[in-house]
Amino acid sequence: MDFRHSEDRQMLADTLRRFLAAESPPEARNRAAYDAPGHNAKVWAGLGELGIAGALFPESVGGFGGSGFDIMVVFEELGRTLSVEPLLGTLMVGRALMAAGGRPALEQIVAGSAIVALAHQEAEDGGLATTAIRDAEGWTLNGAKAVVAQAEAASLLLVSAVAEGRPALFLVPADAAGVSIRGYANIDGGRSAQVQLDGVRVGADACVATDGAAALAEAEAAGLLALSAEALGAMDVARDMTIDYLRTRRQFGVPIGKFQALQHRIATVLMEVEQARSAVINAADAFDHKQGPARDRVLSAAKYTIGATGQLVAEEAIQMHGGIGMTWELPLSHYAKRITMIDHLLGDQDRHLQRYVALGKVA
C-alpha cells in the first residue's frame, strides 16, 4: 500500500495549486464568481494551457490521465481555491461522450478549448421528461432543464431526452434556435441556468447515444467523485483557517484556542475531515477498480460522507470564528457556502445514504 500520489500526479497538483493561487486569489475569485459571466475567461484559458482538462481523460481519447486519482487531485485543488471554472461540465460531458463512443466534440473538450455543460436535471421532479422526436432530417427536442451549471458560458450542451422510450443523449449548440438559457447567480458563486428547449432542431449526428443510460452513469460517477474531492479541498482550507483563527483571536486575555470547548470541537472537525479524505480515496479507487453497483456504492458512500461532514465543517468553522465568520469579506464564509451547497448537487446525503442501501442489495 502506498498512500502517496505518484510523482506526476503530485506535480500536476502543485502546478495547479500555484496557478490558482496566483491567478485566482479570493478577491479575484469572488469577482469572477458573483458577477457575470460567473467564471474567469483568463483563468479558464490558463487552465487550458496547463492541460488540466487533459488530466481528466485517458490517453485513448487524447488526455494524459483520467484515473480516479487524477480526478481527485484536480478537483481537490479547484476546491481549495473555490474555483468556479466550468471543469465539472468538462468532466461529466467528456465522460459521457467517452462512454457513448467518442465524437469530434470530445477532442475539444479534452483539449480544454470548449466549455460544455450537462443539461440532464429536469425542471420538474418525476424522471426524464424532455423528449426527442426523430424525423427524416434529425431530431426535435422539447423540455426544460434545471440548474444547469455554467450553461451560459457553454458553447455546447449535452442534453438528455427520452427518444423512442430510451434516455438518449444529444449534443446541442447553446445558440441553436429554440434553446433559451435563463441564467442566474448561485449563492455559492458561479452561475447556473434554466435551459428551455422549444422545438429545437438538431441533425441526426447530434444524437450521440440512442440509449444513453450507461453514458449518463459514467458522467454521474465522475461527477460524484469530482464534487466530493472539491468539497474535501474546500474543507481542508476551512479547517486550516479555523485552526489559525483559534491561535490568533484573543478574548479574555488568551487565544480562543485555549478554551477546551473549542479545542474538542476543532479536534472533531479534524477527525471528520480525515474520514472524509478516506471516503474520497475509496471513491477514487473504486472509480478505477470497480464496476457497476459495487463502484456506485462507494461513490455514494463518499458523497454521503462529504454531505454530512460538510455541514459540520461549515457550521463549526463559522461558529468558531464568531461574527467575523459571517462576513462577506472573510474568505471563510465563501468556503462555508460552497461546502454546504455541494450537498445539494447530484443528490444530497440522504439520497446517497438510501442509494447506498439499495445498491447493497444489488451488489
Binding site: 421532479d125 464568531g322 465563501h334 454546504t340 445539494h344
Partner: protein, 398 residues
C-alpha cells in the same frame, strides 16, 4: 400539574388573535412568510400599528406606556404574533434601552426618551461589541473622557444591527481606564448625527448589510446623556442582556417556520413522491418537531417560574441555546428541502414586488440565504459557547 392556560389567559389569546387578524397587514405577513427582506418602512409600520393599540412595549409598566402584561401574557402575545407571521419588533429601543431607563434612568430621561421610542421618532441601535471585545465584552476600549459638561468619545463599535436606520445609539464606553475591566464602564446615549460619527456597512455572507461598523472620533456627548452612575455601566449592560434574552427561545417563530417546512415537504416532490414521504427526511423533521414540542414546555416552565417570582438565570441560557439550535435545524432542513433549487440566488427576488419569473418552487431562493444568515443566532446575544459556560458555572460552581 396542569398544562392548560386559565380561561382569562385563553380569552387574552383570542383577543390577540383577533387583533392580528384585523390589524396585521397581509402585505407584511406575506413578506415574513416568504423570507423577504423587510425595509425600514415595513418595520416602522408594524411598530406604529402596535403602538396605536398600546401593545408595543410589553415589558414596560403601564405608567410609561407599557402594557403591564404578565410574563404569561407576554409569552402568549409573542407566540401568536410569530405564528401570524408578524414582523419582529425591533428590540433595541423597546426591549433593551426601555427597561434600562425605567430601572436606572432619571425621570427626565424617561420622560423625554420613552415616548420617542414608542411613537417611533427614535430608532436606537446597540453599541456594545467592538472588534476586540465580542464574547469578552468587558474588554471594550471605546473611551469617554470628561471635558466640562461633555464626554469626548473615541473608538469603534461593530456588528451594530440596523445602525444604518438608527438616529441614536446606546453605547458602553470606558470612563475609567485604571479600574478593573468591568468597573470602568459607563452607559452612554449618543445621537448618531453628532459630528465625528461614521457608519460603515458590513456585508454578510448572504450579501445583506444588516450590520455596521460605527466609528467615533472626538464625538462630544452631553454628560446628561449618561445613564445611571458613571462606571456602573456594566450592571446596566447585564440587566439589559437579560432582556435581550427574553423570548430568546422564539418558540412561536420556530413553530411558524416548522409549519412552513411541513407544508413545503408535503408539496415538494423528490424521486416521484412528496419529500415528506422520504423516510430519512421525515425522520429529520420528526426529530426537530419533538425537540420543539419539548422546548415549548421547557419555555412555559421557565415562564411559569418567572411569573411565580423565580429568577431566570441558567434557564435563560438554556432557552437561548436550545431555541437557536432548533431554529437553525429548521432553516437547515428548509434549505435541504429545495434540493438543487436552493442554489440559485436572485437577491432582487427577496424584495417586495419582484416580478421576475421564479426559479424552482416558491421561495426556493430564500432558503439558503436564510440558513446562512441564521448562523448568527448561535453567535450573538452571547454565543452558545458562552451560554454553556454560564450554565456550567452556575451548576458546577467552579
Amino acid at each position: 400539574m396542569d398544562l392548560r392556560f386559565t380561561p382569562e389567559e385563553e380569552a387574552f389569546r383570542e383577543e390577540v388573535r383577533s387583533f392580528l387578524r384585523d390589524k396585521l397587514p397581509a402585505r407584511l405577513a406575506d413578506k415574513v412568510r416568504h423570507d423577504q427582506r423587510l425595509t425600514k418602512a415595513d418595520l416602522e409600520e408594524w411598530h406604529r400599528i402596535l403602538n396605536d393599540r398600546g401593545w408595543l412595549a410589553s415589558h414596560w409598566p403601564v405608567e410609561y406606556g407599557g402594557t403591564g402584561w404578565s410574563v404569561v401574557q407576554r409569552a402568549i402575545f409573542e407566540d401568536e404574533a410569530a405564528k401570524a407571521h408578524a414582523p419582529r419588533i425591533v428590540p433595541f429601543g423597546v426591549s433593551m434601552l426601555g427597561p434600562v431607563l425605567i430601572k436606572y434612568g432619571t425621570e427626565e430621561q424617561r420622560k423625554t426618551i420613552l415616548p420617542r421610542i414608542l411613537d417611533g421618532r427614535d430608532w436606537w441601535c446597540q453599541g456594545y461589541s467592538e472588534p476586540g471585545a465580542g464574547s469578552d465584552l468587558a474588554s471594550l476600549k471605546t473611551s469617554a473622557v470628561r471635558d466640562g459638561d461633555h464626554y469626548i468619545v473615541n473608538g469603534q463599535k461593530t456588528w451594530t444591527t440596523l445602525g444604518q436606520f438608527a438616529n441614536r445609539i446606546f453605547c458602553l464606553v470606558r470612563t475609567d481606564p485604571a479600574a478593573k475591566a468591568q468597573e470602568g464602564i459607563s452607559f452612554l446615549l449618543i445621537d448618531m448625527d453628532t459630528p465625528g460619527i461614521e457608519v460603515r456597512p458590513i456585508m454578510l455572507l448572504d450579501g445583506e448589510a444588516e450590520v455596521n461598523e460605527v466609528f467615533f472620533t472626538d464625538v462630544r456627548v452631553p454628560v446628561s446623556n449618561l445613564v445611571g452612575e458613571e462606571n456602573k455601566g456594566w450592571t446596566y449592560a447585564k440587566y439589559l442582556l437579560t432582556y435581550e434574552r427574553t423570548n430568546i427561545a422564539g418558540v412561536g417563530s420556530s413553530i411558524a417556520a416548522f409549519e412552513r417546512l411541513q407544508s413545503l415537504a408535503g408539496s415538494i416532490r423528490r424521486d416521484g413522491r412528496p419529500l415528506a414521504d422520504d423516510p430519512l427526511f421525515a425522520a429529520r423533521m420528526a426529530r426537530v418537531e419533538i425537540e420543539l414540542a419539548n422546548m415549548a414546555t421547557t419555555n412555559m416552565r421557565v415562564v411559569a417560574a418567572a411569573a411565580g417570582g423565580g429568577a431566570p438565570g441558567a434557564e435563560s441560557s438554556m432557552l437561548k441555546i436550545k431555541g437557536t439550535e432548533i431554529r437553525q435545524a429548521i432553516t437547515a432542513l428548509t434549505r435541504r428541502a429545495y434540493g438543487p433549487y436552493a442554489q440559485p440566488f436572485i437577491p432582487e427576488a427577496l424584495e417586495e414586488g419582484y416580478n421576475g419569473e421564479p426559479v424552482g418552487p416558491e421561495d426556493a431562493g430564500a432558503a439558503a440565504p436564510a440558513y446562512f444568515n441564521n448562523r448568527k443566532l448561535s453567535i450573538f446575544g452571547g454565543s452558545n459557547e458562552v451560554q454553556r459556560n454560564i450554565i456550567s458555572k452556575m451548576i458546577v460552581g467552579l
